[in-house]
């Protein structure tokens, strides 16, 4: 299937999702507000914490806000585009995955196409505020490379989270009952990823580099962005997420094959 057709088809899917959501407008608005409030609470929590001191392990209030904003935006975008993977166990249980197998169309496209959750965008408001404060009071030298770094962190983060969602969905093929352990890696990373990973010490740094490569989109590029290092290579670390994504895709493929030989 060509790229153009894939894109058109995805847009069709997305427009159906949006129209379905718009059938329940009040609920839609409230969901956005509710998610905004929750994320705003987290922002306030950081602000309150920092009212008592200046920095955590060398990171100032604005550094932390910047870091949190990036993770928050990545996560929200991943949820908007990748929610189809998050609800995948239901898709399998209801037999909808069988239906997807009956259509001459990429499975991933269909899975992703089941959800286009614009009602999850509430936290973007908070993220915007944090980004604004973070950037305003930071000493970042803005040039092509730093702008690239910021964007690469966000895009890389989005892909990383989508990869994790895909991994979680793949596990549905094996033990359909429960995949909540993966939530530690997704929701956990969103909640705890507001602090640069080196705050958590060497062990966590190792895990977040070699097992799930969070540091590629958070710690390393952040060092470059904040001017804590002159190593420009760090700006390109987010590109490495592509390898992680390919690995996740492999697991997904194996899962699909397993499903088609075991049934449900």
């Amino acid at each position: 299937m060509g790229i153009k057709k894939t894109v058109t088809l995805y847009c069709k899917y997305a427009s159906i999702c949006v129209r379905s959501l718009m059938q329940y407008k009040v609920s839609f608005v409230l969901m956005i507000v509710a998610r905004f409030i929750i994320s705003f609470g987290e922002f306030l929590a950081i602000t309150f914490l920092f009212s008592g001191f200046e920095e955590i392990k060398g990171y100032t209030y604005s550094d932390i806000l910047l870091c949190f904003a990036v993770i928050q935006i990545s996560f929200v975008l991943a949820e908007v585009f990748g929610e189809g993977f998050q609800v995948f166990s239901g898709t399998v249980k209801r037999g909808e995955f069988d239906r997807m197998l009956l259509r001459p169309c990429s499975l991933i496209l269909q899975v992703i196409g089941t959800k286009f959750e614009i009602e999850r965008t509430g936290p973007l408001i908070t993220a915007g505020i944090m980004l604004w404060i973070g950037i305003r009071s930071s000493q970042i030298q803005w040039n092509v490379l730093t702008i690239w770094t910021l964007i690469a962190m966000i895009v890389g983060g989005t892909l990383l989270f989508i990869g994790l969602f895909m991994l979680g969905a793949s596990f549905c093929f094996y033990f359909i009952e429960d995949t909540s352990l993966l939530n530690v890696l997704t929701y956990g990373a969103k909640t705890h990823g507001k602090y640069p990973i080196d705050v958590y010490g060497k062990g966590i740094m190792g895990f977040c580099t070699y097992i799930i490569p969070y540091t590629l989109i958070q710690y390393y590029p952040l060092q470059y962005l904040l001017g804590k290092t002159t190593q420009w290579q760090f700006a390109f670390y987010p590109v490495g997420i592509i390898i992680f994504l390919i690995a996740c895709y492999m697991v997904w493929r194996i899962g699909v094959r397993n499903y088609r030989s075991c049934g449900s």
């Binding site: 088809l9 379905s20 239906r99 197998l101 009956l102 088609r260």
Partner: protein, 273 residues
Amino acid sequence: MITMENVCKSYKVAKRNAGFGEACKALFHRSYEEIQALNDVSFTIHDGEMVGYIGPNGAGKSSTIKILSGILTPDSGTCIIDGRIPWKTRMEHVRQIGVVFGQRSQLWWDIPVIDSFELLKEIYSVSTLRYKNKLEELSELLQLQELLKTPTRQLSLGQRMRCEIAASLLHEPRLLFLDEPTIGLDAVSKLAVRDFIKKLNQEQKTTVILTTHDMQDIEAIAERVILIGKGKILLDGTLTDLREASAMQEESAGNSANLDQVVANLYRKMNIM
């Protein structure tokens, strides 16, 4: 043409027992039970045939349908449909088949039916002209004109089923699988669905494979019946064959018995319940 030869399929099912102790044990060790869903299944279906595929719950009907439609890979045996192996060439294969599951919907719940159709048009890459013609034809035959603008969730079961059938035919498949298409429908809708299927088979020469528990469906539609029980094909023939097989030895169930009784009798006799 469909040929299925010596197809076997078995599942591993995790055993689960009630009780706290068992639940604790299951945390560490799960015991599996192997279930033979299909055991050496073979049959041939020619183009334009209309086949009723019957059997009690859990006999292997849906496994067969899943294998034929390319969702499931069998453990052994071969299956060739118009020269394709369904599970190996999924994309090409599914383009040529239509599937209706009576208990599940393929239409998007909150949007008008026509929007679902339009998405399906994109998915199957049907050209606009052919889509228009087909849609016109189907809405005529199934009387969908009034329904197309309604969101799926507001349709009655009978209306929805008519739309489901239309949705499965938009890409003009050569082969149509119907899995309990009349389940839960009122009398009028049932008749409409049956008539339509018959017409489809006669006029377009679409091959139809129908699974159902409603013996009136079989009586009304199918020329040929395949009976499956405990994963094995037990009978492949006409309705008359079915009646005879049931009536053999037992005098009570003669030709006068209705089809439900015939089948129930047969199930009991063959010990496949």
